[in-house]
Symmetry: C2
Subunit: 149 residues, 2 copies
DNA sequence: TGCATTTAAATTGTGCGCAATCAATGTGCG
DNA sequence: CGCACATTGATTGCGCACAATTTAAATGCA
């Protein structure tokens, strides 16, 4: 009593993960025209948002917030520094620690970014209830995949 | 009557898109150890899945299915060809068209991949109802973001 | 038929993601 | 104190994603 081929799990239309992946790509793609005005990529925008909330932290703390490591963040932070948006200093008490803080230009950029979330919500054409439930499901999945591997 | 700063939309914990993005990254990360046995990356696995369903198609058709363009697919398909999993031939009737088809090794790999979806579902620790509703929301978002830009 | 237009795929360049490795600094324990 | 060990971040290398451009082939139409 083996399953017939048509009910195999190995079909693209059954892959939740592929839906997630495609939606995530499409989302980043949709952000790009909005962020072009700010001269930021999607991830750079995320990192700036973290810093707008809490203007100084080290790479490890930042990485924990955005779920990324120094291999991704170090070059990104260098690019943000090159744009004059952040300052990469060293901790006095521990020379290993890189302190990331906002420059004046970085702080100022926040105003221009304020309208981005609403514009994206509009693009999504989904209700806040739908979006909120999507967010909950993603947060749960992330938690389940990251705790105890 | 302007909103106080604490209710700004520009906070990381309010970004549905960031949840989606982080969950998608975590998902691809979780797939990797499972796919290592097959010597495939996540996207290569997706492309192979498309070909397991329909063993010959051109780059444009493939791109439409996985929502990616030739800039991503061409090098990926070359890598799959180098591994001996696919064959990149040319259409007789239209020399511009690249026909992608499975080699015997590519067809054979399917058996080893059959168990991957169930293993991932288990890793997610979510019910099929939760996953199904997540999938629906992602599919809707993708549709809304891609139709009429 | 000849030439502009369209189409398919490849190429180029930039910026992620992430595993693996490395260097530098700090800490703890004998 | 000295040395093993842990921690922080940087580096390297590979494989996506994607915009923009290029190449080559097909099509349309005067």
């Amino acid at each position: 009593m083996t399953k017939p081929d048509s009910s195999s799990n190995l079909t693209l239309d059954k892959q939740i993960c592929f839906s997630l992946y495609s939606a995530s790509n499409a989302m980043a793609r949709s952000y790009q025209p909005l962020l072009k005005k700010l001269d930021l990529t999607y991830l750079q925008y995320i990192v700036m948002m973290v810093l707008w909330q809490d203007s100084t932290m080290n790479v490890k703390e930042l990485g924990a917030k955005v779920h990324l490591d120094s291999g991704t963040l170090t070059p990104l932070l260098k690019r943000l520094e090159a744009k004059g948006l952040v300052i990469r200093s060293r901790s006095q008490s521990d020379e290993r620690v890189r302190l990331i803080s906002l420059s004046d230009a970085g702080k100022k950029l926040r105003q221009a970014a304020e309208q981005v979330p609403d514009m994206m919500m509009c693009k999504s054409k989904m209700t806040s209830e739908e979006l909120s439930s999507l967010k909950q499901a993603c947060d749960l999945l992330l938690k389940n995949l990251t705790t105890a591997d």
